[in-house]
Symmetry: C2
């Protein structure tokens, strides 16, 4: 069974993107060497990605470009190479290489995906699919990087959740740049 995880930077008030849909605030503190080593270790995983339509469009517009290759060659190569799944009915011809569109009911499609062969799958950004899959108990691991900033408004990862979802803290680690990484398991 492939494991499905969520990885997101969140503000102190729980938002993964601000009122304008921006995530630039999450990149502050990127020059902390301990943090860089931690992020590099995470990126080596070589799993697949599950993305909502908004996040997919944002990433597909950046990672295949010459700018991405010039500024972050290793990450860009990894992003382009990884298998991407995008939850989106209107999107029929995804332009980004190694992308599969998940048609039909998302929860059923993800359950089938988890039961198939392949590497573990991570959701990045994508608030709507996170809330939907969290409520269905499909997400095995939640990884949050709490950034030391309050935004006042934005989008939360669990918008639309009908019942409280209790998780189990697996580990937590604070970094010199003020970020706190916490990992939770479902059940």
């Amino acid at each position: 069974m492939r494991k499905l995880s969520v990885f997101n930077s969140v503000s102190l008030d729980g938002y993964f993107s601000d009122a304008d849909g921006e995530m630039g605030w999450a990149y502050a503190g990127g020059d902390d060497p301990e943090w860089q080593a931690f992020v590099a270790g995470n990126a080596e995983g070589g799993g697949a990605l599950l993305l909502g339509r908004v996040t997919y469009d944002m990433m597909a517009a950046f990672w295949p470009t010459p700018q991405a290759h010039a500024t972050m060659p290793a990450v860009a190569a990894g992003m382009n190479r990884m298998q991407k799944y995008v939850a989106s009915r209107p999107l029929t011809e995804p332009g980004w290489q190694n992308t599969t569109v998940l048609a039909g009911d998302l929860v059923a499609a993800v359950a089938a995906l988890k039961a198939s062969d392949g590497p573990d799958i991570a959701i990045l950004g994508s608030g709507q699919i996170t809330a939907q899959l969290a409520a269905a108990g499909q997400i095995d691991i939640y990884q949050f990087v709490t950034c030391p900033v309050a935004l006042g408004a934005g989008r939360t990862l669990f918008d639309g959740l009908q019942n409280p979802l209790s998780l189990r803290l697996v580990r937590s680690r604070a970094f010199r740049n003020g970020k706190v990484f916490s990992e939770y398991a479902c059940g």
Copy 2:
């Protein structure tokens, strides 16, 4: 100068109270001995409290009652003895002992309070005054207990903040019950 701090339990999605205004989810895990020792150490501080009207009414309806004395005698005695400040124009005759109403402009009233003699002041709950005082740079210390639960909806502590507020992480500590305590300083 008296220091002003905020202490709140928050959900993984950043809410200090759920969609019904309830905070019961924050009390899960109370039987962890390490957590109990930590909470008891915090309660010994002997400072003053600053409360918004909603939080004040909730606390004033409970702590002076015989039930509070019977179930949590030490905390109830402390709560009743402490100096309370309540930010509320319509409230003119506070029923709870040792309460002062802050009339007029909240930011100016709190600035005067911080410049006066007395113990440090903690805000509990009270989302509206937290956002207002945070934006005015009046809050020196933020203490959050992140509980391992997602709520889906509720009230955030920084609702109405016009500009992002960057804080400095002072310390972070994870507990066996899944709570993560993080303390931040302003500037």
